[in-house]
């Protein structure tokens, strides 16, 4: 009797310590979105996906983001942030770390990766509670989006 009681106390003590230790370090970071990103039929090696609440549809909140690693992204990973579920504008950027491009001009030393596409935008309505959104980037998104020259639309008050 004495021994079983002791054992129980020991077990209780260990459990108590475990709970106390495990208590720290858990928190939620918004709704999770995960999925694959492909471009020209193959996974995008590196890149970034940004989820911005679609303000034009009356949705507001903090933006979420995730890194693309070998064609897969997940907002629950380290260095990412979950989203506020609702209508989203999704912006995707794709990189190929190999091979490094032959750049010239000022700042050429800083260029070490090849850009596949930048600023590709799509809309998605994302429900709460974890969602799988696979992104197929069209070939037409290659390169960078077309911009107006800086002088156009320049209004200095």
């Amino acid at each position: 009797m004495q021994i079983t009681l002791r054992r129980k106390s020991i077990r209780f003590g260990i459990l108590f310590t475990l709970i106390a230790v495990l208590q720290c370090g858990c928190g939620s970071k918004g709704d999770r979105v995960t999925g694959t990103v492909s471009f020209k039929g193959s996974p995008v090696p590196r890149g970034k996906v940004y989820f911005a609440p679609d303000v034009s549809k009356g949705h507001q909140g903090a933006a979420g983001y995730a890194d693309i690693i070998d064609g897969v992204y997940d907002t629950a990973l380290e260095g990412s942030r979950g989203i506020v579920a609702g209508p989203m504008v999704v912006t995707v950027e794709g990189m190929d770390p190999n091979p490094a491009p032959a750049a010239s001009g000022e700042g050429a030393e800083d260029v070490v990766s090849t850009l596949l596409f930048a600023g590709y935008k799509m809309e998605a309505d994302i429900p709460p509670g974890g969602f799988k959104l696979d992104i197929e980037v069209p070939d037409s998104a290659a390169g960078v989006p077309k911009s107006e020259p800086e002088s156009a639309g320049m209004v200095i008050p």
Partner: protein, 332 residues
């Protein structure tokens, strides 16, 4: 008799008693340790605030002396003095606002060493880039020698800066547009999808002497241009994060906007979200810090505020512009 018996019995703790005591001590330490660390972080954050405040005041004092804000980040500028002037100006890659403000935060000696007749990465300026200016580093961030400039030439091994200017709202496409308070705002961005991208609407953005740029050629910003109100405009911020990968994107603190700059960034992406992608987003790298939950900004009125990383992007972009006239106020 009683005392005899007592002395014969060995006094000791049982295993259970010991375990209980250890468990209680463990819980207490578990509670206390994070609190101590939080106190240390609070102290570091205050020290960081103080440094941002000093830099903000330096910029204000520069304005009081020169009747304009310091040039944000220089692209191609006329050397001073220029022997070839004025017939055939001979442009060099320029420097940034931190160098111009040096005399205003008690670094006159360093400022006097800077050679304005040559480019920032010329060997003559290597001694400046290597100088340790303590107040340019957030105590929570990586130490001044953790990430040094990997490029060749005079900047090789130069230290960087954790305090950077705000170039304004931007995007990888020009014009950058965003909706805030039901209104759509639009502002041009120079070289939007390149490393040297710069927004026209910010306080410390690109300056150049070469002709041909509506927003940056001989750009001059005074208090009267900050028509959004100095209390609602971001002037400087911090980027003092540890980098997750091997790609070092910290550059010399004296570098202007010459294929990307180390001393100012656009507000394109959320706080703490973006590092260098190795190709084209150098000036779109996000503001960020090791302070939990956000980073600090120096506001144009001279105050310093902590801004949460969950701030809406539209509001952050509105605050970054100085003249688009959004009805935007800093969150409390």
């Amino acid at each position: 008799m009683y005392s005899l018996l007592r002395s014969q019995k060995k006094s000791a703790f049982t295993l259970v008693e010991l375990l209980v005591v250890i468990a209680i001590i463990g819980v207490l330490v578990g509670l206390l340790l994070p609190a101590v660390q939080a106190a240390r972080e609070a102290a570091r954050r205050m020290s960081c605030q103080n440094q941002l405040k000093q830099l903000s005041l330096a910029i204000h004092n520069f304005h009081d002396t020169n009747r304009q804000f310091p040039r944000g980040v220089e692209n191609q500028v006329i050397p001073r003095p220029d022997p070839s002037q004025p017939s055939q100006p001979n442009f060099v890659a320029g420097t940034n606002w931190i160098v111009y403000c040096l005399p205003f935060f008690e670094q006159q000696q360093v400022f006097e060493l800077y050679d304005f007749t040559v480019a920032f990465n010329h060997a003559n300026n290597a001694i400046i880039g290597n100088t340790l200016v303590q107040s340019l580093y957030c105590p929570s961030g990586p130490g001044p020698d953790r990430y040094t400039d990997p490029n060749g030439g005079g900047v090789n091994g130069n230290r960087t800066t954790h305090y950077i200017g705000v170039m304004g709202p931007a995007d990888v496409v020009s014009p950058a547009t965003y909706i805030y308070g039901g209104q759509t705002f639009s502002t041009p961005v120079g070289d939007p999808a390149a490393n040297s991208a710069w927004s026209v609407a910010g306080m410390l953005t690109q300056y150049r002497d070469t002709p041909g740029s509506a927003g940056s050629t001989r750009r001059r910003v005074r208090f009267s241009e900050v028509i959004d109100g100095t209390a609602n405009t971001l002037m400087i911020g911090e980027r003092s994060v540890f980098l997750p990968g091997n790609l070092n994107d910290y550059r010399s603190w004296i570098r202007g906007n010459n294929g990307g700059t180390s001393a100012s960034k656009n507000v394109t992406y959320p706080i703490n979200s973006t590092n260098y992608n190795g190709s084209n987003n150098f000036n779109h790298i996000s503001f960020g810090s090791q302070h939990p939950g956000g980073c600090q900004f120096g506001i144009a009125d001279g105050s310093v505020r902590f801004i949460s990383e969950t701030i809406e992007m539209e509001l952050l972009k509105s605050l970054a512009s100085m003249w688009l006239q959004e009805v935007a106020q800093l969150p409390n």
